[in-house]
Subunit: 479 residues, 2 copies
């Protein structure tokens, strides 16, 4: 990726800032509107910290009605809107622009209803991912998607990015676990998509909204599918002498039709970084490690593990270590889920998010290594192997502009590689600003145009998160 | 439902029929174009046999390129198009109109690729549902959605209706099992939606297309997710003294977090009808029966069944019978899957397809009974209980217009009841023409308008399956 371009702010909008802020002040309580520069500062970037833009104002409404009033007003004024959950986007999906107002949902975080008999839960969309599971865990239930950022990230952000997580191999990603949403359109209209029951007649606008990165509207409430936790769960560490061998074992396990709850991959650099941080007992003498979690009764787990171990052995596994306690299990997952944070302690990095057919894993691992070496860089690999969702971390020094440029070029090449083997640019982090210009590598012009035409139905003036997802050049004439 | 209205055919189009047919003849081989009335007759209705309209012509293209040429031509001529798979729609989704051309995909039925390592399969969309599983069954794999019509229905039709089936409780419906499609737009443009890998960047147009009932384009190829069959599977019959008790047991099983592979409900009338046909050993002395299928190793099945049996006993179960052989299992499923056909041997019926939150099952069963009795009619209930997808069969005599009117009114009331308890008009049969006018009960005008505006992006002149899904009155001004 070359340096990411932001559109120049509209001077006409900037000139009207005082009137716009005054208008917002008439719609929400003082504690819901942030206008001072110091207050706006925390909203100028997200987890893609390399870029930052200070928004005109930040609004944190408390109700759907307030969101409706705010959007209706901003739409009438022609002001751009960047929706925000917790700002944990790794692709810059929540980075604002100077002539935009941030509308955050963090104050809307109540649980509205829990219905175990229907296995559903209704929440305000600003609730954090982990708080959802926290509310039902004592009764043995959980909400399946579990991004690494689950302590902070919101359901609204999960819906915007169609977030996944380590356990989505078995349980699906966000779109498989949301039954309905309440959403505010840019003109203030409130729509209900989906419902409390399976499927819904007519067009699946719910599916369209999930993963639309804040460009179709702002989701304020959601009905979630909750699941009963299995009797037991046990992660097992498998060490391999090469990354290719581990990748081939993953492809063989999937090819044999086994679906563990989770199947996570780490290579030697990632193992070393995460073990130093989490003390999880990861093997340090292997080139690659798989964390494979099985669940069910002890008998079920033993039976599934037996099949997995046989396949791992056929691929030259050198270490096998089962978790024997809840504490050990917690440490194993803490190590994996803190991978990005732990890497940040030792180097700057770009985290990519390509997705490939699992059968192509060994060759792609090899090719990624070659790409990084070609740019004189190191890569740490830690990703959801079972569903082919790669997260190579390209390590570089942010204070060395040449190294940053090489890192971005390597990331670019890796994502193109994913597309070329039949995969795609993003599994769960979204396109954001980061991969915007790469969309032309994934899609033919006619495919992109069709997406933009659908987008324009929801947001004709292109006010919602406008600098994201679609390449700046060649945008559909209708916008 | 009152008598369903069809729009009057456009006399200007009818007058140009010869020229239109001649144009089609230039685009496809003679054996792919049906113009004689006798040849068109099989295409005048679908499984909602109460209504029929003879189309102007029927085209059965052999390639995506031919579909593209045919649609491009018909679009330029302003001719309506009704896409058709196998014509098994129960909601009239494939019934043509006199001024429309039927474009069927039945000649496009090849398997293009099977990739076990990535657990995917690429097919032409006219292949039948059962042929997909048939192609991989010997290797231990299967395609999960299994509508009762699976011997005949096509993947294209499954995609159009987002079809389910008995085993979708565990494995999801069509939208959870399709990774990508090739689709031809009304102007002949060929687009690729989704891909071979998990998720895809940008807007989820694939999710939008699945369940869109032939109104956004014609799907010609699809990449399917295939799964490995479990070690074993065992259906168990549970007899209950009342429908409410069976319904409460279903809600309790789901509420306890157990997800069997299938959980099917039949009441006394349905049991009698299906047992007479399939000789499956269904208990005839109970008011309601559940077929609950568990799968896995013998130990897993025993453990899950133990929990299910305990719940069933708490709800007054009077008969429990496990299948003890593959032949018995086949008979049990044959009985269930032939329910509609077997009912057709004893009476005319309307099959409804409402979906409700599973927790509301007992009260809805009671209310449906009251509705039918109020109209002096009998209902046979046979449905996917686990995911709340009801299929009440309202029995009536098609030669008694008064009884037919009462049956349609009862069906109407039942669907409204489903919506009122938080469910929806259709689980898997689609809206078609049958439930078109009821969409206003499900959706607010603003919700329907948004759907129609999105539809218009794909088909601005409203040529694709135009009389379906959306109420004839109050269609969006843009069409």
């Amino acid at each position: 990726m070359a340096e990411i371009a932001f559109p120049a702010p509209d001077p006409e909008i900037l000139a009207r800032r005082d009137a716009i802020v005054a208008g917002l002040a008439r719609l929400v309580a003082p504690e819901c509107l942030i206008t001072e520069a110091d207050g706006r500062r925390p909203f100028e970037t997200d987890a893609l910290t390399a870029y930052r833009r200070l928004p005109m104002a930040v609004v944190l409404p408390r109700t759907t009605e307030e969101v409706s009033a705010v959007l209706g007003f901003l739409n009438a004024e022609g002001v751009k809107v960047v929706a925000r959950g917790a700002g944990t986007s790794l692709a810059g999906g929540a980075i604002p622009q100077e002539d935009a107002v941030v509308v955050g949902v963090s104050k809307m975080n109540r649980i509205l209803d829990i219905d175990y008999a229907s296995r559903t839960m209704r929440v305000e969309a600003g609730i954090t991912n982990l708080a959802v599971t926290g509310a039902v865990a004592a009764d043995g239930f959980f909400y399946a998607p579990d991004p690494s950022s689950q302590l902070a990230c919101t359901i609204a952000g999960n819906i915007a990015m169609n977030s996944g997580g380590a356990h989505c191999l078995k349980y699906g990603v966000t779109t498989n676990n949301i039954l309905g949403v309440k959403m505010v359109l840019i003109d203030g209209t409130v729509v209900e998509l989906g419902g409390d029951a399976l499927d819904a007649p007519g067009l699946d606008l719910l599916g369209l909204v999930i993963g639309s990165e804040g460009q179709l509207g702002i989701v304020t409430e959601a009905t979630l599918r909750i699941l009963h936790a299995a009797e037991g769960a046990r992660p097992v560490l498998f060490g391999f002498p090469t990354s290719e061998a581990a990748g081939a074992a993953v492809a063989a396990i999937i090819g044999a039709g086994i679906i563990p709850v989770a199947m996570e991959f780490m290579d030697r650099p990632a193992i070393a970084i995460c073990e130093a941080y989490a003390k999880a007992g990861y093997p340090l003498d292997v080139e690659a490690m798989l964390i494979i979690e099985v669940e069910g009764s002890d008998a079920e787990m033993d039976a599934t593990l037996k099949r997995i171990i046989a396949i791992a052995q056929a691929h030259g596994v050198t270490t096998i270590r089962e978790s024997r306690s809840a504490m050990e299990t917690a440490a194993i997952w803490k190590g994996r889920k803190s991978a990005f944070g732990a890497t940040g302690r030792v180097a700057d990095y770009i985290c990519m998010d390509g997705t490939i057919p699992t059968g192509r894993l060994p060759e792609v691992l090899r090719a990624m290594e070659e790409i990084a070496t070609g740019y004189g860089l190191r890569v740490a690999n830690v990703f959801h192997a079972g569903d082919g969702n790669l997260h190579p971390l390209i390590l570089y020094n942010i204070n060395d502009p040449d190294e940053q440029a090489r890192a971005e070029a390597a990331g670019n090449d890796i994502l193109k590689l994913c597309v070329d083997v039949g995969g795609c640019l993003t599994g769960e982090h979204g396109v954001g600003i980061e991969k915007r210009e790469l969309m032309t590598h994934q899609f033919a012009p006619v495919d992109l145009e069709q997406q933009m035409r659908v987008r324009a139905v929801f947001d004709p003036a292109w006010l919602l998160n406008p600098a994201k997802v679609f390449p700046l050049e060649g945008r559909w004439q209708g916008r």
